[in-house]
């Protein structure tokens, strides 16, 4: 395993230096184009500062930035026991030091990613679409792939590279936008001031580079991330001992036509499958951050004889008809190769509702801090966290039901990471509406109507 990690580290360093060079050149050219001739130096310094700050931020909170950008919310075991179990299983199978934190992203597109600094503080995020569409074996396959990224020390690199790529994308985007609005004027003024044909040429160079930089950065990223995807697949096979789980999960993921609306280029590489399925994106394998999914499926399906790294390498060589080694040597020399297991039987639990959609809706409600109560008449009442009253009259039997405000506040606190201290205050502020003046007061009802007190 060690060589594998070392190799990843070395690759990461080379990649960082190259991406950093792109960033610095971009900074230099933008500075030079704006204020020739000395602006270049200023732009360079500025780019170094931005790079430094972004690197610091991504080291200390890159994971939470990623999770935020993806709109991920943390869930506890209570909210989704099955997902939690699967993640716990993978923690044991991969001997991770800690169970990764579990996040859910609300979107119908099935997808997942892992992030964090190291195995000790890793997080795995899955979409609600994934939970809706996968059976247990498939979910396990996806989670195992993400666990593979954690074990292979990919996550820090992915987070770092994602933020770096993001910086380059943002910088060039800002520059290009600025040029579109004030470009011609600037071009004219710089020409008259410095009489510089040179300035105009510099501007064109800067423009071209601003267009190319994000693409180059993405290609660099791609060069390394492809191998990482294969490696994570191989690790997943080993952890689950069931290649078909991941294979059919990838099949379902690629068959889905849902887009993830909130995704941007910077975090797209994190996901198990590219979340942005723009028209024609499937054809351009060169600019894709992921190896073609059909190829990954084909490799997984032709694994034979065992589920070790060597078996994956053999399947890889067969499908791609190449002798290239996609996995590091040390991995291929492993002793005791694990044997494959058969598919797990579909377990039907007692609480399955007739509609899977309902289960997902309830999951989202739980994540968003809803309280669930069942009246003695059998009516289930699902109450939003901003309900503002401590009891509710059952519309079915007229019975007054107390809302577990304390529990509600506590669960909201847990979900939002507030400590036990904040809980008491939460309860006080949530349970009663205090009139602030002597006269009538009104507040907006959840449905948009204004209610008077």
């Amino acid at each position: 395993m060690w060589e594998l990690i070392q190799q990843n580290k070395r690759r990461s360093i080379v990649l960082f230096v190259m991406m950093g060079a792109i960033l610095l050149l971009l900074g230099y050219l933008i500075g030079a184009a704006f204020a020739p001739p000395d602006g270049g130096l200023f732009g360079l310094v500025l780019a170094i500062v931005v790079w430094g700050v972004m690197s610091m931020i991504s080291y200390f909170s890159g994971d939470s930035i990623m999770l935020n950008m993806a709109g991920a919310k943390e869930v506890t075991r209570e909210v989704h026991p099955q997902l939690y179990n699967v993640i716990e299983e993978m923690k044991i199978a991969g001997s991770l030091p800690r169970v990764p934190k579990v996040y859910i992203i609300e979107t119908s597109a099935p997808n997942a990613f892992a992030t964090g600094r190291k195995a000790e503080n890793a997080s795995i995020a899955v979409t609600t679409g994934l939970l809706e569409k996968m059976n247990r074996d498939e979910l396990q396959g996806v989670v195992a792939h993400e666990t593979g990224h954690i074990l292979n020390r990919d996550i820090l690199f992915i987070t770092f590279a994602g933020v770096m790529l993001g910086t380059i994308v943002i910088l060039s985007d800002m520059f290009l936008r600025g040029m579109r609005f004030g470009g011609s004027r600037r071009l004219g003024s710089s020409r008259s001031k410095n009489g510089g044909q040179g300035a105009a040429v510099l501007l064109v160079v800067a423009l071209v580079f601003a267009i190319l930089a994000p693409i180059m950065a993405q290609l660099l990223y791609f060069a390394v991330s492809r191998r990482r995807e294969y490696l994570a697949d191989a690790t997943a096979v080993r952890l689950t001992r069931y290649p078909e789980g991941l294979a059919s999960a990838l099949e379902k993921i690629s068959a889905s036509t849902d887009d993830m609306p909130r995704m941007n280029k910077a975090i797209a590489p994190l996901f198990i499958a590219n979340p942005i399925k723009a028209a024609g994106a499937r054809m351009s394998n060169l600019t894709s951050t992921h190896p073609p999914i059909t190829e990954r499926i084909a490799i997984l399906r032709s694994i034979a004889g065992g589920v070790g790294y060597l078996n994956y390498q053999q399947a890889y060589s067969k499908i791609k008809s190449t002798r290239e080694q996609v996995l590091p040597k040390s991995a291929l020399e492993e002793k005791d190769v694990p044997t494959a297991r058969s598919a797990s039987p579909e377990v039907v639990t007692g609480t399955v509702t007739s509609s899977p959609k309902r289960g997902i809706n309830d999951l989202i409600r739980a994540v968003n801090g809803f309280a669930f109560l069942t009246c003695t008449c059998g009516l289930k009442i699902k109450i939003p966290p901003d309900f503002g009253k401590d009891s509710v009259t059952c519309p079915r039997c007229n019975q007054l039901n107390k809302i577990p405000v304390a529990e509600l506040a506590a669960s909201v606190a847990v979900l939002e990471g507030i400590g036990a201290k904040g809980v008491e205050e939460e309860i006080k502020s949530e349970s009663t509406y205090k009139r602030q003046s002597q006269s009538w007061e009104s507040f907006k009802c959840a449905c948009g109507r204004t209610i008077q007190l």
């Binding site: 009516l379 289930k380 699902k382 519309p395 039997c397």
Partner: protein, 116 residues
């Protein structure tokens, strides 16, 4: 809005104003398969509603229906569901054809004893 679930049927309601929100999926569940959302909202005059869809937060379309009484139902433009003000759903249900009429009323009566 709170969500109410009974016997595998779910409906969202505002307990302050008595409004009812029916998801497109829930509507299909009461009306049977493949009933387009606008069967309920009679093809009367359409205007832009003041109310926003609770799912997508965009302004809904207001459908003016005549029979049996003049009512205005708000339907999400991207078919997330229908909003009924207090009493509107029972009015609309009364005007439906027979198998549908009792299906809707029975489902709603199971949850709202006072309203239906």
């Amino acid at each position: 809005m709170v969500a109410l679930e009974f016997a595998d049927f779910e409906v969202d309601t505002c307990l302050d104003c008595g409004g009812i929100w029916l998801d497109s999926g829930e509507l299909e569940m009461i009306l049977g398969q493949d009933v387009p959302i606008r069967v309920v909202a009679d093809s009367g005059d359409v205007s832009v509603s003041k109310r926003k869809c609770p799912v997508c937060n965009k302004k809904m379309s207001a459908y003016a229906t005549r029979s049996p009484r003049a009512t205005e139902i708000d339907v999400c433009t991207t078919e997330h569901g229908i909003w009924f003000d207090r009493g509107e759903l029972s009015t609309i249900a009364e005007s439906l054809q027979e198998p549908l009429r009792s299906t809707v009323l029975d489902q709603m009566r199971a949850i709202f004893t006072k309203e239906f």
